[in-house]
C-alpha cells in the first residue's frame, strides 16, 4: 500500500519535467551564460578589440554612462505616465459601458482590437498618423485651427507621442478587466447606497473603487512590467531618437548589443535590467498578495 502511494506521487514528473526541462535549458540557462559574458570584453564588430576577461569593468562603465541613466529615467517616466493614464481612461470606459447590456460583447470585441494587433503594426500606425505633413492627427488639428506639431521628430514631444500610442493600445486592457470587476460587484451594495442617498461620486469612491482594489493592483502589475519591457513600438517609430528622447532601457540595450555589437557590455546591461525587473516584480507581487 505504501509503495502504491509513493508511486502515485511521482507520476506528475513524467508530465511536468519535459516542459520544465526545456524552459530551464533554453529560457533560464542562457542567463547564466550572459552573466559570464558580462565579465568579458567581447565585441563582434571590431576584431582589433580582443576577447578577454575584464571583471566588473562593464558594470562600472554602465553606471557612469549618462545614456544609461537617461534610459532608466525615460523608462520610469514612460511607465508612470502610460499606466496612470490607462487606469483613468480604462475606468472611464468601463463606467460608460457597464449599463450597456445590449451589444456589450460587440463593444468588447471592438475595444479588444488595439491590444491584440501586432505591436509593430501599432508602431507603424503611429508613424503614419503622427506624421507631421500627411498624418491624420495634424489633419484633425488643422480642422480645429490648432498648430501643426512635429510629433515624434522633436525631442520635446517624442516621448509624449509614445505615451499617447501606448495609452491608445492598452487602455482597453484596463477597461476589460475593470468591466469584469464591476459586473462582479453585488447589486445590494448599490441599493444600500441609494437608500442612504449617496451621489455618483460617493458611490464611485466609497464602493466601486475600494471593492475593485485587487483588480486595479493586477492591472498595474501587468502594465508596469510590460511598459518596462516596451520595445517594438518605440523601436519601429524612432529607434530611441531623436537625440535619445525615446531611448528606453530595452532600446539602449539593443543598440549596445546589436548595433554596436558590444556583446560584453550589452550582457552586463541586460543583467542589470533583469535585476531591476526581478526587484520590481517581487515588490509588486508582494503588494498584490498583501491585498488578498
Amino acid at each position: 500500500m505504501k509503495l502504491r502511494h509513493n508511486y502515485e506521487y511521482t507520476v506528475w514528473k513524467w508530465y511536468v519535467f519535459p516542459a520544465l526541462f526545456l524552459v530551464l535549458l533554453v529560457g533560464i540557462g542562457p542567463l547564466f551564460y550572459s552573466l559570464f559574458i558580462s565579465t568579458h570584453q567581447y565585441n563582434l564588430a571590431k576584431v582589433q578589440i580582443p576577447y578577454k576577461f575584464v571583471g566588473l569593468k562593464n558594470y562600472a562603465f554602465l553606471f557612469t554612462d549618462p545614456h544609461v541613466w537617461n534610459a532608466f529615467k525615460l523608462t520610469v517616466i514612460f511607465s508612470t505616465a502610460s499606466v496612470s493614464l490607462e487606469l483613468i481612461f480604462g475606468t472611464f470606459m468601463a463606467l460608460l459601458l457597464i449599463d450597456v447590456v445590449r451589444g456589450r460583447n460587440v463593444f468588447r470585441s471592438l475595444f479588444l482590437i488595439p491590444m491584440v494587433i501586432t505591436p509593430i503594426a501599432v508602431g507603424l500606425m503611429g508613424r503614419y498618423i503622427f506624421d507631421d505633413a500627411v498624418g491624420i492627427v495634424n489633419w484633425v488639428f488643422r480642422l480645429f485651427d490648432l498648430p501643426r506639431i512635429i510629433w515624434y521628430g522633436n525631442t520635446k514631444s517624442a516621448l509624449i507621442t509614445m505615451i499617447i500610442l501606448d495609452v491608445w493600445e492598452w487602455s482597453s486592457f484596463v477597461f476589460l478587466i475593470v468591466l469584469a470587476g464591476l459586473m462582479g460587484i453585488p447589486n445590494e451594495y448599490y441599493e444600500a447606497a441609494k437608500v442612504e442617498g449617496a451621489g455618483f461620486f460617493a458611490v464611485l469612491f466609497r464602493i466601486t473603487l475600494p471593492t475593485l482594489r485587487n483588480v486595479y493592483l493586477l492591472a498595474m502589475l501587468i502594465r508596469i512590467i510590460d511598459t518596462f519591457k516596451e520595445f517594438d513600438k518605440v523601436y519601429i517609430m524612432t529607434k530611441g531618437g531623436p537625440d535619445f528622447a525615446t531611448d528606453l532601457i530595452t532600446i539602449r540595450n539593443y543598440t549596445i548589443a546589436f548595433k554596436e555589437f558590444n556583446i560584453g557590455l550589452g550582457s552586463a546591461f541586460s543583467i542589470i535590467i533583469l535585476i531591476v525587473m526581478i526587484l520590481l516584480g517581487t515588490f509588486l507581487i508582494r503588494v498584490v498578495q498583501r491585498a488578498d
Binding site: 502515485e8 506521487y9 507520476v11 506528475w12 508530465y15 511536468v16 519535459p18 516542459a19 520544465l20 526545456l22 524552459v23 533554453v26 529560457g27 551564460y33 550572459s34 559574458i37 460608460l96 457597464i98 449599463d99 460583447n105 470585441s109 471592438l110 479588444l112 482590437i113 491584440v116 494587433i117 501586432t118 509593430i120 503594426a121 507603424l124 500606425m125 508613424r127 503614419y128 498618423i129 506624421d131 505633413a133 500627411v134 489633419w139 491608445w168 486592457f173 478587466i177 469584469a180 447589486n187 455618483f200 458611490v203 493586477l218 518596462f228 520595445f231 517594438d232 540595450n253 548589443a257 546589436f258 556583446i263 550589452g266 550582457s267 541586460s270 543583467i271 535590467i273 533583469l274 525587473m277
Partner: protein
Amino acid sequence: MKYKTVASIPKFILIGLLLVLFLSPIIFQIISGFKNLGTIYDPEQIVSLKHLTLKVWKDAVRLQRFLFYLRNSILATVISTTIVMSFAIPAAFGLSKLKMNEKTRRTLSFEFLAMRMLPGIAVIIPIFVVYKKIGLLYTLPGLILIYIVFNIPLATWLLEGFFKEVPDEISEAARIDGCSSSMELTRIIIPLSAPGLLSVTILTFIFIWNEFMFASVLTTSSCRTLPVWAAYTTYQHFIVNYSMLGISSTVMIVPVIIFAILMQKYLVRGLSFGAIKE
C-alpha cells in the same frame, strides 16, 4: 441601472467617439495600402478616397517576396504553437490534477508565471552568441525553438486554470474504474476543457505571430517573418513608404482581428493571466 446619472444619448455619443478614436487610425492605415505614394504625400488628399488602387498590392506580391515572408510567419507560428501545446498540456495536467507535494506544486506553478516577466532582451544576447557558435543563427528552426520555450510558461499557467475547473469527482470516479493518468488526460480532461484549450492555442498563436524582437535579431532575409519584413520594407528608401506600411500592417493585423473577435471572451481571460473568469 447602476449609474443612471449619465443620460443615455450623450452616453452613446461618447461611446461612438471612443470607437472612432480607437478604430479610425487602423482603418486609415489599412486604406494607405490602396494609395500610391503620390496620393499619400499629397496634403490635399489625406482623407480623400478618390484615387484608390490595387497596384501597390500587386507590386508587393510580385516584387517584394511578401508571400515568402508570409509563409515563414505561418510556418513559425503553426509549428511553434503545436509544439508549445504538446508540452504545456501534459505539464498543466500534472500541476493541476496529479498528486504531488503542495509546496512543490505552488513553487513550480509560480515559476511558470514568473517567466512571463523575464525581459526578452536579457535572453536574446546569450542566445545570439550560442546560436552563432552552433549554426542556428539566421535559421527558422532556431527562431521556432525560442518561440516554443518562451510560450510554454504562460500556456501552462493558463491551462492549469482551465483544467482545475474540471471537477475532481469525475477524475476520482475514472480512477476507481481503473483509468490510468494518460487516459484521464486524453479521455476526460482534454474533451471537458476544449474551449479553454482552443483559447490558449489562439492566444499562443497571436503572441508568436506578433513577435518582433527575437525575429529581428535571429533572422535574415532568408527566413524573415512578417513583422521584420514590415520594418524593413517601410524604411527601404529615403522617404518612408507609407503604401508598403499599409500593406504589411494589413497582412499582419487582419488574421489577428478575426481571431480576436471570434474568441473575445477567452482572450480577455488569457491576457489577464486568468484573473478574469467571466
